[in-house]
């Protein structure tokens, strides 16, 4: 049924730390590796070794450059590169679920995971239109909609060692930038992390109420003064001397 549950018992989701993500794309690869050979249809590639290659991914890492505004203490602040991994945010008010005409898309009452029942999916693509985050991709080989399952086949899987019962991307991340847990429980580690670091929603104005949270980059450290006496020293001459000084003056006169 594609009407959304009024509330879910848990809100399982990810917390992604934009401060520590190094943009290595390991989560992208491990996600594709796990999900292409487990739950549902494989994640196909088209023309994988050709010039115009593309494929289905459930998780992609975008990189942005942010130019801080000039301030009196920092006249020319350095631009920052920030990597933003993006997958399904398992929204509480998921617009992708309600548009589905067949009931293939649904949000689970027990843990809030948004899933696609692939045997009911007609591949109309409307759910991908409704998602503001680009979290859903129609697999070109299977003709069904693919999306992050929060590794539903790992997190409850008792055949795996306990340490592996987290989404593949979280297990793989070498910089500890991805965290998994119940964001509906305010005492969970992930909820505490969100509270402490000021976790945020992506596109809050879209009204989707995403469960996944992003931790903003911490402010950059300011370089300390090298020497306490430095302000008292005579400034280094800015005017060129010697040959360069002569060249400067001569060219100036021309």
């Amino acid at each position: 049924m594609t009407t959304l549950p009024t509330q879910t018992q848990k809100k399982l989701g990810l917390v992604i730390d934009l401060d520590t993500c190094v943009g290595c794309h390991a989560c992208v690869i491990s996600c594709k590796g796990w999900n292409t050979e487990n739950y549902g249809a494989p994640l196909s590639d088209q023309n994988a070794y050709g010039a115009d290659n593309s494929g289905t991914f459930l998780n992609r890492v975008h990189s942005f450059e942010v130019q801080p505004l000039a301030a009196s203490e920092k006249v020319q602040p350095a631009a920052q590169t920030i990597h933003l991994p993006k997958s399904c945010l398992h929204c509480e008010d998921a617009p992708c679920v309600t548009v589905c005409p067949t009931g293939a898309s649904y949000k689970r009452v027990e843990d809030g995971i948004v899933l696609v029942n692939e045997s009911d999916c007609i591949g109309c693509g409307l759910c991908a239109w409704a998602c503001p985050y680009g979290a859903r991709e129609l697999d070109q080989e299977e003709g069904v909609m693919k999306k992050c399952t929060l590794c539903v086949d790992r997190i409850y899987n008792e055949n795996l060692p306990e340490v592996d019962r987290v989404p593949s991307c979280v297990r793989t991340c070498p910089s500890g930038a991805r965290h998994f847990g119940d964001l509906g429980d305010e005492n969970s580690d992930v909820s505490k992390l969100v509270a402490e670091r000021g976790g945020m929603d992506l596109m809050p104005e879209q009204g989707t109420k995403p469960v996944n949270q992003y931790l903003p980059p911490r402010p950059k450290d300011a370089l300390p003064e090298f020497d306490v006496l430095a302000p008292f020293l005579a400034p280094i001459a800015e005017e060129p001397t010697g040959f360069l000084g002569w060249l400067d003056k001569t060219l100036e006169k021309l």
Partner: protein
């Protein structure tokens, strides 16, 4: 948005077909016999043809029957139900007119309501998309309904009504463009809200997730098509509104001129429908630094 031929053809012709069915349904002095058959044939070829064309872009058309189940939440599901109900009702009504020379008028009225409901539900599939600010407006259903009514009246041969409805459709189309051009900026969704990084400074897309393209970029980012949009807007208005109105108002109006008016109108509607998709920008493009 990618202007897929299947959806452009579907929305144009099913709109015209169901628009014609509306006018056939409420006609107090309906055609009978072979004349009725000809009108019903045109309406069904357009309406059903449009619906069939819409299944061409499905990944699994063989499961299409499942799309009738989720009418509680899904406009696409409601559209399917409204379309089939209308086709059944109007089919029975047409049966009476063609073969028994009798008008089972209540069936016609119900069918007319169904035809309007079908066009409205189609338009709501687009108008509900908050992710596509240009479509997320009441003008979208107004535009679809006015186009269907105008085109339907033209096909039905109700020239006096058609003339005014075509003008109205043109006015609504212009309003849709004027409001739509500001919709993305007014939506409040920017690269800053998309990334949450706006409070640090100005955000710029630095590197995409991959060097190639992907499904999202093919489906939602269509920059090339907008290059000639202002020229196309003028051409489409000339074809959809101006030429048919001039022909309808001409004192020497004939069947051949009517055919020309219909062809010109349909060509114009196809052009505006192409623009409807090509000009629509999805917010996901912000993650790629494109719209």
């Amino acid at each position: 948005m990618h202007p897929a031929p299947s959806v452009i053809i579907f929305t144009t012709f099913s709109g015209l077909g169901f628009g014609l069915l509306f006018w056939l349904g409420i006609d107090p002095t309906p055609y009978t016999g072979w004349t009725a058959f000809a009108f019903w044939l045109i309406a069904y070829v357009m309406g059903v043809g449009g619906l069939i064309s819409s299944t061409f872009h499905l990944g699994h058309p063989e499961r299409a029957l499942k799309a009738f189940t989720q009418w509680r939440s899904s406009w696409l599901s409601r559209e399917g139900i409204a379309a089939v109900a209308t086709l059944v009702l109007m089919g029975l009504y047409g049966l009476g007119l063609v073969f028994f020379d009798t008008a089972w008028q209540p069936l016609g009225w119900l069918g007319a309501i169904g035809a309007l409901a079908t066009v409205f539900t189609t338009s709501m599939i687009y108008a509900q998309m908050k992710t596509i600010p240009r479509w997320y407006t009441n003008l979208t259903p107004a535009m679809y309904l006015s186009f269907a009514l105008a085109g339907g009246a033209l096909l039905k041969g109700s020239t006096a009504i058609a003339l005014w409805l075509i003008l109205l459709a043109g006015v609504i189309q212009i309003a849709t463009w004027v409001v739509g051009d500001k919709a993305f900026a007014n939506s409040g969704t920017t690269m800053a809200t998309a990334t949450g990084l706006g409070n640090i400074g100005e955000v710029r897309a630095f590197e995409p997730p991959h060097t190639g393209t992907n499904y999202l970029m093919r489906e939602f980012i269509h920059v090339v098509g907008r290059k000639h949009s202002s020229k196309l807007r003028i051409i489409s208005l000339l074809l959809m509104v101006l030429l048919p109105v001039m022909l309808l108002a001409a004192p020497f109006f004939s069947h051949w001129l009517a055919l020309l008016a219909v062809i010109s109108h349909i060509a114009g509607v196809l052009a505006t429908r192409w623009l409807f998709f090509a000009e629509a920008e999805h917010v996901v493009g912000l993650y790629y630094g494109k719209r």
